[in-house]
């Protein structure tokens, strides 16, 4: 039931792979048809140029000039080439920011995917209430991030948080989740895993629905147990969907900003600073904003995101052709 409204079977395949399939009688009408086609596309093309390409261009321009607050308004900042990038690379925050971005992304995805997969397999068994409970699992993903982040902040509060109170009840020592440099990154990762599980669950679940039930019935006849069914049937057949889920998760997680900023502001010190929060901090969170280095950090992030973006698109294309 999840895929019924949108994306009818093969819908997207039509668009990407069918350049020369129009019937011959249509060819004459082609030219006037092109005018209409582009008239309908014109708004989105203009939109993409003005509201995507231009801000991105402006961002690059910011990063190769030396902007100060005054030249930002007057627009006469001197051109400095790649100086801002070299400064950013040499900045003591750069190493930790890259490391934290990597740890945050990889650990979040590993857990989100594992939990999402386990839950998808579990909910796929069609027990009573499974559809309703699966819908409830979407809640964390739908909540505004600031709501989730502030709720987790209070739950992880050192003195009055419910998590420390639970640890205390179990006889464990309290943890300074958000105020200790050793724990801040772990805390934001925990919150992010919670937010990301529903997305993984929904996509993997819809992948499971496309595995023919006969396979499981045949395996059952051969005497396979649940564990063998998972590793011999589910996991291999789900590999394409898993690849897409992981890559999308990677792209989304790389750019996570709200959760970290609201829970820790990248601190204490720089213990939970990622590229995204560092860029924001440089550009918007100080009294004397450093727009140019902020834009340079942002552009480093965009390069990383686009590398995985292109891998994602290529993976998807390959699967559509297969």
């Amino acid at each position: 039931m999840t895929t019924t409204q949108t994306a009818p079977q093969g819908a997207v395949r039509d668009q990407s792979g069918a350049a020369g399939t129009a019937a011959p009688p249509r060819a004459r009408r082609r030219r006037s048809g092109q005018w209409a086609a582009w008239a309908f596309l014109a708004p989105v093309v203009v939109y993409l140029i003005v509201f995507y390409a231009f801000p991105l261009y402006r961002n690059i321009e910011l990063s190769v000039r030396d902007y100060t607050v005054r030249s930002f308004v007057q627009g006469d900042a001197p051109f400095v080439g790649l100086d801002n990038y070299f400064k950013v690379f040499q900045n003591p925050t750069f190493g930790p920011a890259i490391l934290h971005t990597g740890l945050f992304t990889v650990i979040s995805i590993a857990f989100q995917f594992t939990f999402g997969m386990a839950l998808a397999v579990f909910f796929h068994q069609n027990f009573r209430l499974s559809a309703t409970l699966r819908a409830l699992f979407l809640v964390p993903w739908l909540l505004p991030l600031i709501v989730s982040a502030s709720t987790w902040s209070w739950m992880l509060n050192s003195d009055s948080g419910v998590v420390n109170s639970a640890l205390h009840a179990m006889g464990l020592p309290a943890v300074n989740w958000l105020t200790s440099p050793d724990w801040a990154l772990t805390s934001v990762i925990i919150a992010n895993i919670w937010i990301g599980i529903p997305f993984n669950l929904v996509i993997l679940y819809s992948g499971l629905q496309n595995i023919p039930t006969e396979l499981y019935e045949a395996a059952a006849l051969d005497g396979a147990n649940g564990w063998q069914k998972f590793w011999r049937i589910t996991f291999p057949l789900l590999r394409p969907v898993s690849a897409i889920t992981l890559l999308l998760g990677l792209i989304y997680t790389l750019k996570v900003f709200d959760i970290i900023w609201i829970m820790t502001r990248g601190g204490p010190g720089m213990s939970s600073t990622t590229l995204a929060t560092w860029s924001y901090q440089l550009g918007f969170a100080s009294t004397l904003p450093d727009f140019s280095p902020a834009a340079a950090v942002g552009n480093v992030l965009i390069v990383i995101a686009l590398i995985f973006g292109v891998i994602y698109i290529r993976t998807q294309r390959k699967q559509e052709l297969a």
Binding site: W38, F122, F199
Partner: protein
């Protein structure tokens, strides 16, 4: 399909759901806790002395923020559908040259981190003098939804039978008329899906409102909560009450439009 439906799986499912939704429950619980018991140790697991003082604070202080977010959400929905639907019709049915490239650009556009867009918009808006304007924020928020909208719409619209469109053509309808009178009504479900997500993303947006609209007269609810956390971090019942109220659109969507939500999540990733 399954003859036996073991009850213990339902029990396990309910337990898992309770664990997963505990933070949501905790948000509601804290929103009802009196300020005097806020720092009690251990905290009350149930709102034993439930109070609505948090919600009174929401009504007296946060209503304008909620109104602004509603306005911006609706504006974003209109702009997104108006731009995305015609483009998707063209991509799905009119076979324009260069559609492969455009599809590629739309996919890439979805991957650009918000902080980078925010920085670019900030620079442009500052020079144009349109920082802190509601419609400036609507435009920025719509960038979250337009590429997604085009992809969802075109996936749906390419499923519309060609016979339907050529019948309209034989009856003398032009391309625009066909789009307005046939394609749009038929695509109602996908319009709902796109509108839901456009609204939800605009409603939840924090990065654009904190960079482009932090000094404006009309501010969004996400900024309202953010300032709350910064200013009076003692009144957590008021903060959590605001969070509960800010979650209402998500809850409403889940109840009335769950199938559209699930469709939207899946459509972006899984094609068949």
């Amino acid at each position: 399909m399954n003859g036996r439906r073991p009850w213990w799986k339902t029990v396990v499912g309910v337990l898992l759901t309770i664990v997963m939704l505990f933070p949501v429950y905790w948000m509601i619980n804290v929103s009802l806790t009196p300020a005097t018991e806020m720092r009690k140790s251990p905290p009350n697991l149930f709102p034993v002395h439930a109070t609505f003082e948090g919600y009174q604070a929401v009504i007296s202080q946060q209503l304008p923020y909620l109104g602004t977010s509603l306005l911006i959400g609706l504006g974003t929905v209109l702009l997104t559908v108006a731009i995305a639907a015609p483009a998707a019709y063209s991509l799905a049915k009119l076979r324009p040259r260069g559609r492969g490239a455009l599809n590629f650009v739309l996919l890439i556009a979805q991957m650009i981190p918000g902080i980078i867009m925010a920085m670019g918009f900030y620079a442009i808006y500052l020079n144009l003098g349109i920082l802190n304007s509601v419609w400036g924020l609507v435009i920025a928020d719509s960038t979250l939804a337009v590429p997604f909208g085009v992809l969802i719409f075109s996936a749906f619209m390419s499923g519309i039978p060609d016979e339907l469109l050529s019948a309209a053509k034989i009856d003398g309808a032009g391309t625009w008329r066909t789009f307005r009178s046939i394609v749009l009504p038929v695509s109602r479900n996908s319009i709902v899906t796109v509108s839901l997500f456009a609204f939800l993303w605009a409603w939840s947006d924090f990065i654009f409102s904190s960079t482009l609209n932090s000094g404006g007269a009309l501010q969004t609810i996400t900024l309202g909560i953010y300032k709350y956390i910064g200013n009076n971090n003692q009144e957590w019942n008021a903060i959590m009450a605001t969070a509960v109220v800010a979650s209402i659109p998500a809850a409403v969507l889940l109840v009335i439009a769950q199938k559209y939500v699930a469709a939207g999540v899946t459509a972006g990733a899984v094609k068949d």
